[in-house]
C-alpha cells in the first residue's frame, strides 16, 4: 500500500518537473486561478468604433460642410425653407422683430 502511495507521489513530482521544463502549468488539485480572464482579448477599442465618428456625422450635413469649405453649397432643403419663410413674410405671418413680440408689448403696456 505504502509502495503505491510513494509511486503516486513520484509521478506527481515527475509531472511537476516536466511542467517546469516544458513551461506548462502544474495544477494537480485543479484550483481556479482565473487565468482564463487574463487570456481574454480586450474588446473595448472595438466597441468604441461601433458608431460612425462625430466628424463623419457632421460632414453628412451640408450646411456644416459648407462652413468647412468656406463657400455656400447647393442645398435644396435650405432653399425650400427660405422660400417658405419669404412667402410667410409676404402674408404678414413672419416672426416679429425684437421688442415687438407679444410678451414685449405686454410689458410695455404695464409701464
Amino acid at each position: 500500500m505504502s509502495g503505491a502511495v510513494s509511486q503516486a507521489l513520484r509521478k506527481l513530482k515527475v509531472a511537476e518537473v516536466s511542467a517546469k521544463i516544458f513551461g506548462n502549468t502544474f495544477n494537480p488539485t485543479g484550483e481556479r486561478t482565473g487565468n482564463y480572464i487574463l487570456r481574454q482579448n480586450f474588446r473595448g477599442e472595438h466597441m468604441v468604433r461601433y458608431y460612425p465618428s462625430q466628424l463623419d456625422r457632421n460632414l453628412v450635413k451640408v450646411p456644416r460642410l459648407s462652413r468647412l469649405v468656406g463657400e455656400k453649397l447647393y442645398d435644396p432643403n435650405e432653399i425650400d425653407r427660405l422660400n417658405v419663410l419669404d412667402k410667410r413674410r409676404a402674408r404678414g405671418k413672419g416672426a416679429p422683430k425684437k421688442g415687438e413680440g407679444k410678451r414685449a408689448s405686454m410689458s410695455k403696456k404695464k409701464k
Binding site: 486561478t33 482565473g34 480572464i37 487574463l38 461601433y50 456625422r57
Partner: protein, 99 residues
C-alpha cells in the same frame, strides 16, 4: 442624435477607460489561490465600478435612427432602415428573396 445613442457612446468610452482595472479585479476575485479577504475586496471593488463600464451594459443600436431593438449587427441598422436601404440597392450583396 438620440440621447440613448449618446448614453451608449459614453458607456463605450467608460468601458475602454475601465477595462484594464476591471480585468485585474475580475482576475483577483476569481483566483481561488488568493486569500479570501483579498478576493472579497476585489469583488467589492468590482461592484463599486460604474455599471456603464461593464461591457454587458452596452447595446448595439441602429446607427441611423438609434433604435435599440431589431438591429442587424452585420449592417448596424434596424430592420426598417435595413429594408429601405436593401430595396434601394445600397447594401451590396443583399437581395429581396423571391422563389
Amino acid at each position: 442624435m438620440r440621447s440613448r445613442v449618446f448614453r451608449d457612446m459614453n458607456a463605450r468610452k467608460a468601458v475602454v477607460s475601465k477595462e484594464l482595472e476591471r480585468t485585474i479585479w475580475r482576475y483577483m476575485s476569481r483566483n481561488t489561490t488568493l486569500e479570501p479577504q483579498v478576493r472579497m475586496q476585489a469583488q467589492l471593488a468590482l461592484s463599486r465600478t460604474p455599471r456603464e463600464a461593464s461591457p454587458s451594459a452596452i447595446k448595439n443600436r441602429c446607427i441611423l435612427t438609434g433604435r435599440g431593438r431589431g438591429v442587424f449587427n452585420d449592417w448596424k441598422l434596424c430592420r426598417f432602415q435595413f429594408r429601405l436601404r436593401a430595396l434601394n440597392g445600397d447594401l451590396p450583396g443583399v437581395d429581396k428573396a423571391s422563389w
